[in-house]
């Protein structure tokens, strides 16, 4: 091809490409299905959490707060390693409407209490004896952490660990902005 033919082709690609981009442009409102899922940007799946302290909490009860939902188990090394950082976050940010909830995976309340007492962690711990929360949140490995905003939307997820406190704070910061 001669040079002019290449130039014409280049112009056609640009014009045709922008035309295709216009024809397939995102339609407002069509991009974000409102069904609950673990996708970032979607409403967090609703779950009822039987707490270690005895009461039952639902995510709907926590609407208006920033929720850090941390799936963990006492036998999981990275989970244990990030517990102190999560406890510090709970202490420091509780006054700004942040709540950390550790959802334990299928362990008995006695052994969880013994472990928590041994490390002096006191943020709310939920039980998941049937693995229902695990299934709803597609927890395929531990630890898994979801950050849920004040409107109940999943805004970030961290798979694996241990999370450093700085990492949690970096993920939390955008959710605390007014």
């Amino acid at each position: 091809m001669n040079r002019n033919a290449w130039r014409v082709l280049s112009a056609l690609i640009l014009a045709g490409g922008l035309g295709w981009a216009y024809a397939t442009r995102p339609q407002s409102g069509a991009a974000a299905p409102a069904v609950a899922s673990t996708r970032v940007g979607a409403p967090a799946p609703e779950i009822a959490l039987p707490m270690l302290s005895g009461e039952t909490r639902t995510l709907a009860d926590l609407r208006g707060q920033v929720v850090i939902l941390n799936f963990w188990a006492t036998w999981c090394g990275p989970c244990r390693a990030e517990m102190p950082a999560l406890a510090e976050i709970q202490t420091q940010y509780a006054s700004r409407g942040v709540i950390v909830i550790g959802v334990n995976q299928r362990e008995d309340a006695g052994s969880i209490r013994r472990y928590l007492d041994s490390i002096g962690v006191d943020f709310p711990i939920a039980l998941d004896p049937t693995g229902e929360s695990n299934r709803q949140y597609r927890v395929l490995g531990l630890p898994t952490t979801y950050l849920i905003d004040r409107q109940g939307l999943i805004r970030d997820a961290v798979f694996g660990g241990p999370m450093a406190r700085a990492l949690i704070e970096s993920k939390l910061a955008p959710l605390l902005e007014p």
Partner: protein, 240 residues
């Protein structure tokens, strides 16, 4: 979506593993494609390896810099083994910069090297597409085609698999064309042109909340401009 594996207590999610796999195969391939243009495969492979580490370091430093207010209180957290504290865009820029620096040092910063790097770049793009599928952030529009995949509660266009299939075709074309007496840069520019067109088409089937520019997907605008510039460059290369 989002499966991850634990190795010796270190949690590795599937998405970063796919990028790593793509990078390893790309580096291996660079050692072989260098011969297509009479270059030293070991030097090119080494340059790509260093660029990979540069990208990783850049991604971490970029993330730390963007969140400096929290990392300044705990600087050692910047060394944490976590793939969650990486900034992909800054990492990519750092990787390209380090690659250019290494090639320049080796006297290989020329179009022939770009040709040799085109197939490895296509393989890396496959790894990124696979990572994007695992990550689940990018997903296709709802579809009733037989090959639709279940993503986020609906049958959708498997956009990442469209992209990977397209990349395989481009790679095969590059392998076929390698023995032709093409001008330096033609293979690289051809790959950019083909990949630009591929992304332009495939991104039209996406349904996720992408970055927009004047109401259009920014990725499609970049793809159209890249493809057009590559076509322009091919014309120039043809008449050098």
């Amino acid at each position: 979506m989002q499966p991850f594996i634990q190795i010796f207590g270190l949690a590795i999610s599937a998405a970063p593993a796919a990028v790593w796999l793509g990078a390893v195969v790309a580096i291996w391939l660079a050692g072989r494609t260098a011969a297509w243009r009479g270059l030293d495969g070991r030097v090119l492979g080494d340059a790509l390896t260093v660029a990979g580490f540069g990208a990783l370091l850049g991604a971490r430093l970029g993330y730390v810099a963007l969140h400096a207010s929290v990392y300044v209180r705990d600087p050692l957290a910047a060394l944490a083994l976590s793939t969650s504290a990486l900034d992909g865009a800054i990492g990519a820029l750092a990787g390209v910069g380090v690659l250019a620096w290494r090639l320049r040092r080796a006297g290989m910063l020329r179009w022939a090297a770009a040709d040799a790097l085109a197939p490895p770049a296509l393989v890396l793009a496959m790894g990124l597409a696979l990572a994007s599928y695992f990550d689940g952030a990018v997903f296709g529009a709802v579809a009733e085609v037989p090959w639709a995949v279940a993503v986020w509660g609906a049958a959708r266009h498997p956009v990442q698999f469209y992209e990977m299939a397209g990349l395989l075709i481009i790679l095969a074309a590059a392998v076929v064309l390698r023995k032709r007496a093409l001008p330096d840069g033609a293979l690289a520019l051809g790959a950019v042109l083909a990949y630009g067109l591929l992304r332009l088409i495939v991104d039209g089937f996406r349904a996720d909340e992408a970055a927009l520019l004047a109401g259009l997907r920014a990725s499609q605008i970049v793809a159209a401009i890249s493809a057009a510039l590559a076509a322009w460059g091919l014309g120039a290369a043809d008449h050098r």
